[in-house]
Symmetry: D2
């Protein structure tokens, strides 16, 4: 099949053609990976049987060797006949071992022991080996930027309106903090995915035919795969380990979508405080050659819109009748898509933020626009502190006056007689802020620094 | 790339390996199809330019010929350089035509004129040529079954509790009716997908350089593709033609998910009124050889859980800033997945229902279980009609008595003195129903018939 | 209960305290309304029984009179005892009629006959009497604005970037068109809500004890309420009439959310092309007196975020087992919230748009910002049309040059030797556009006009 | 306003009329509660100002006293004039204090400092004081039931099909475990909700006019309310503390929805292993007096369908532009609805499970239905273990034979010559299981016990 015959844009566009990304994700999130991991679970099972003396070590070795040769192609061909994917896998392994070894393949387990355990193992490893390192790489980029711009004056914006000053590094630091927390959550929930070797309905019916302590047997099989067992299982592990993991992914996706959206708006023609770097040969628009579009920021937001709603599937999959109905089977096969989309979006945003163009001139120009009004807040507060009985209202009125007369609020204040008794009580620093709104930046820079410092330490980066 | 290296279960499992389905969907829903349709739009554009005298017919022919040779591979290679997919397509076409023809490729249009129009054209054709025929095939299966079983007595169930009798054909007829309506909706909304050739911001800026009536020009280009224009466009057509289409798909998906769920429950061990047919070599469970699982019904429900939530993306994509932000670009690339999943599920359910095993013995057995209580409803109503002042309460009490004494309600009624004056007023047919609950089936059979008749006519099948 | 003891912000804040809105919605969407409508259904039922000769007209009159006296209080008190809301309603009615009339209350129907029919009737009337008039009022506001501003030059924006010119009226016209279509959809689906009088499992078991044609009986009862019957029912009508209705509501909500979002961004400090009118006593911020926030636009977007996802409930409620499980009972009680939120948001947006401040100075200022580059598109297209072999690329390069040299593209073009042979071929109008980018507005004004004209006629307004 | 004039079913039906529940939730989740908590935040603020020497203790006492008198009515009346809810609150407080105290009300804070902190405080307290105790009460009920039924034989069901045996206590134990984990998560995320006193854009602009360490000041104010600060804030705290909290609620809701669904199906007429207890005067159906419906289980599932999708709002609310847009303001007002619905559903399910009727006769009857086939699994595994080369296939065939001949698999096995050599190798216990399928229950009972023991200890109950 030609790659462009695929239906999913992940396969033909975002992952399939990007060699670097393909090599990162294929070993965990492709179907080849799934087959490989299921074979690994079967190998771990027989190995543990041997350790427990149920079969010989020779048999375990034989099975392990066989599992390493399993290909997706042969399993799928066998499944075409049997209409049962795990029985197909088992048959394929059995064909590669001696008659003596055959019975100990898949011994005492049910299909979903293998599937759930393989999924947990591959997502856990993916999280550990591929996802977290990428998230940390991005966190480093954010920290680098936040520190670099910690003193870069920017007008703070609420409701899309100029409010009071911050620094651009402070604005970025909120993402350092929020994304740092997401990394921790993803690490924790990814690391906590659970396998199960508890049999058809979870009560160890089959394994207890052979083991006095089948829970211990389960623990031993899973520890071969570096996994813990679901505290209790039916045919499936407790669903919430997976839904919590995907929640943490989707929540992290929300954080980067927010960042992308923020940057996208800061790149608006009228604002243009930041911009994506633009290749010399890159085309902005097929018809408007002058355009420089924030296509990477837009892509991240768009991917979030495409993948965030899929969490609803996970919540619906929490409901499985009795010891399980199979209505979570096909749906679980789409989980790797969510992981892929998140990885892709973090990668893309990392590349984009790393090369972010920060236009200090425009930052200053935008700041200056309403500079004259910014002092409204400190003025009102200082007036109040100095005893003015109705500070908010008087400042509101003076602001309207400043706007209609196109004068700066500072000027107007200085001429407003009724305020003079209060202004006299202002100390030097306070008077300075009233005259120089750019000083009214609170502890933006320090806060950016402390957030970065915290996460560097927390993540050991 | 090996098929099993893919991430999406659609690509590696459900669509990619099923030759019959692959050949149905690839021409519309793959990326190859998208490139092909975009090239078609470019051809239609130049063709119309020639008709309007902007360029020669020779040029239009040259361009059309070139567009037919376009491959996804070359377009993607070009995009790798330019980072712009439509400019890449245009370059690829231009390379294949004379210098004289080059300027008239993509003439006056913006990228999204091509993309939106191609999407509308391929989804519309897919709906018409592939989806609707499959939906009708399934509707026929349902009609066939509903008519076949129109007289098959079944206990009606509400709240999972035995209520009053119906026929199994009547139960199926609700799906004939609901799915019939879905077909009409999908046909209507699919047929109403809109293209646009209105330029970068939708006000025909470029095309009005050359045409006095650029709306007419747009109409002519689109009519080459059998499409109508969005009434007004920005860079994109009005979003609601697409969201309404996907709503109708998702709503149809809900109908079949309901049917699948219904059948799944009727196949429960304790009920077993229907069953999926089971291949002689098929394996039910990897460890419980006796199991016969409703895996196809389960699969349909599971696919619904995986795809229904994706409608939320379409609703979010209704919001696009000003003349458009690009945050609906990546997300729109995932629409074919929804169409694929729906087609797959209808196909699967069609195969399964066609071969549905209906177990009349069990239908009867289940009916008989609470047969003695079924007469409660007609009794209460008839008593009321004959003047009993508190019919519901007396019947409720007698029912409790029947349950505790394990007698049939009919027996108890006949011995209940206080009822005799009323029972005397019952006519023959009414008395018969009180004694033979299976007669209390209303017009189930007739209603099944009339629903089938209606939809046969409506859909001309 | 004090109004502020309520949990829902609809009840204590948005609807409950707004007298005008309260009086519009209470008669349809409150629980009092629901009880009233259910009583109406019971009255229609007995009335039809009388017409069919099953009971006397006197009885029907008695029942009708009784139903008019029913209060929510008494029904709920009765329900507290019985734990069954419809039996409670029936008891309350029966208490108010003669013994002779009692049996004919609720005769042959099941609870959900009453509930589903009452819901359909009240939502239909609400749509017709309250919602559609409000939607049309808003459509009129939009048309008024679009026509008023049809010639107001505005820079078109894609990706948040200045693209090519439009008019502000044209920008608004897309909402005239999209919202117009929404009105039609809501009207159609609201008008098409269906009742049912088909009994406990939908096969008319009870009513066929008395009528040869129970379908006709159902039709007659429903026509008293100006409703049509669900084509087929189980215990419930076909779910898709309701899900389609709510889809059309949610889709319309998406349109106004987009408009609100658009305006919100146009009110940004750096753009400020429009602004919400601001009361003389209104407070912008509790701490920044200078702020003028787009709080109404924000509210509309926020309400959309709170209510759009609830459509998922409707899709889940399509699935009901066999002749019905009751898991759609509580969830259906929340449908009025969606209708309320939509009505509130349209009302709010109507008020806000009616008084929209359009700042023509800023519109012009923003337009002028990149005026020098806007000609890139027409230039490239005209060069191509005049035979330039690589028009897009040359214009792209000149644009970069213009940007780096801070000159206007027009200037640079005029000095670029290689272009002179082509420029000579431009006609007068074409040369004019190259020099006066504000003329490059396509048919924006005309298109705004035609959209308004179309919807005025279509909606007869 | 009459309670039945409300729109939300929570207000008029589920919460508003249930005195016990009303008194539990009103102090945290009503608007009166919100106003009360916001006033508390204002009091904590001035108290801390006094501690820091910015104002006198007398002033702080005055303010605290005033805040305790604040009513929702007066605040809303003031808001009607100002169109700003927090300024309204501040005005109301100021009116109740001396001129000297006035300036120190709301001093240095922004509206959302008060709102976000009040929300965090009330949800945290609600979680601690009301929700968690209720969840634990329910967990106790589950533990009680799981232990009581730990030895009650039940057929395990997968795919709705009889699989291998479990005990009913084991089936319940999965909910003990899953719900136990949910309690921990809700406790953790509820306890971790964060406030903020960081001013208009989060950089402490105003408070740093007065404090060298405004972060410490924030910490001190919040510690008065037993809260921690968001690590970094913009105008709003980091959104993920709230989205994680609601995720844990929704995930817990999924667990109880699964339990409710499970029970609902076990109450099916054909299964009837459990049933909701039914009041002597309760009405099952308005028209079918014999019905006993699982209305409470259905209600829980229905509420889950109505509220689960609302998590999507929280994910959308993670996106807030720059230092905040206000599009999360209205939407946040609906969070109490989710908490209310969850509390109601847990309460209802607790009542229902506490009185669950467990029908041992039916449990046994259902078990016996396919008793003859249950041994298929142990037989296949034991045969394999004893060296049979194709155990799964032979057992599959014998099972088909058993089914067609209506004999028990045990009988057939004993007569199957080819198996005799293997059967001889079975030990006594193994032979016993083959003959007595009810012994094939694994460690169901023990596992139920250990799960209950674990959670008793973990939750200290």
């Amino acid at each position: 099949m030609n790659i462009f015959d695929n239906i999913s844009a992940l396969d033909f566009r975002y992952y399939g053609r990007n060699e670097r990304i393909f090599h990162k994700l294929q070993p965990y999130l492709s179907e080849n990976a799934m087959i490989k991991y299921m074979a690994k679970v079967e190998a771990a099972l027989t190995k543990t049987l041997a350790k427990k003396g149920v079969c010989s070590k020779k048999i375990a070795d034989e099975v392990e060797k066989a599992t390493k040769k399993i290909t997706a192609e042969e399993v799928y061909q066998e499944e075409d006949k049997l209409k049962h994917n795990i029985r197909a896998l088992v048959n394929c392994i059995q064909r590669k071992v001696s008659d003596e070894a055959k019975p100990f393949v898949h011994f005492t387990t049910t299909s979903h022991d293998i599937i759930a355990t393989a999924d947990a193992a591959r997502y856990k490893k993916f999280t550990e080996n591929v996802l977290i390192p990428k998230l940390i790489e991005f966190e480093k980029t954010l920290i680098m930027l936040a520190l670099k711009e910690k003193n870069t004056l920017q007008v703070g914006r609420t409701h899309g309106q100029h409010a009071v000053p911050i620094t651009f590094g402070f604005a970025l630091a909120q993402y350092v903090s929020r994304f740092g927390r997401s990394i921790i959550q993803i690490k924790k929930t990814g690391n906590n995915l659970r396998g199960k070797i508890a049999g058809a309905v979870g009560s160890y019916n089959a394994s207890s035919l052979f083991f006095n302590n089948p829970v211990e047997f389960e623990r031993d099989v899973l520890s071969e795969l570096n996994l813990k067992a679901s505290p209790i299982s039916t045919q499936i592990p407790e669903a919430e380990f997976m839904s919590s993991y995907i929640h943490s992914i989707v929540e992290g996706f929300g954080v980067i979508a927010n960042l992308a959206d923020d940057m996208r708006h800061l790149q608006r023609s009228e604002i243009l405080e930041v911009a994506e770097v633009f290749g010399a040969k890159q085309v902005g628009s097929s018809t408007m050659p002058q355009k420089r579009n924030p296509i990477n920021f837009e892509n991240v937001k768009s991917m979030w819109k495409a993948f965030m709603p899929r969490i609803v599937t996970l919540y619906m999959d929490q409901i499985s009748e009795h010891q399980r109905d199979l209505t979570n089977s096909a749906s679980l096969r789409f989980v790797p898509e969510i992981l892929t989309a998140f990885y892709l979006s973090v990668s893309r945003l990392n590349r984009t933020m790393k090369n972010l163009v920060v236009d200090k001139e425009n930052l200053r120009k935008n700041f200056d626009m309403n500079k004259g009004l910014i002092v409204a807040e400190p003025l009102y507060i200082l007036l109040a502190a100095k005893g003015h009985p109705d500070a908010h209202e008087i400042v509101r009125q003076l602001t309207l006056k400043a706007q209609s007369s196109k004068k700066s609020l500072t000027e107007i204040i200085k001429k407003e007689k009724s305020l003079q008794p209060y202004l006299k009580k202002f100390n030097k620093k306070q008077l300075e802020i009233i005259s120089n709104p750019e000083k009214y930046v609170g502890i933006a820079s320090k806060k950016a620094e402390s957030a970065c410092k915290f996460w560097k330490k927390e993540l050991e980066i």
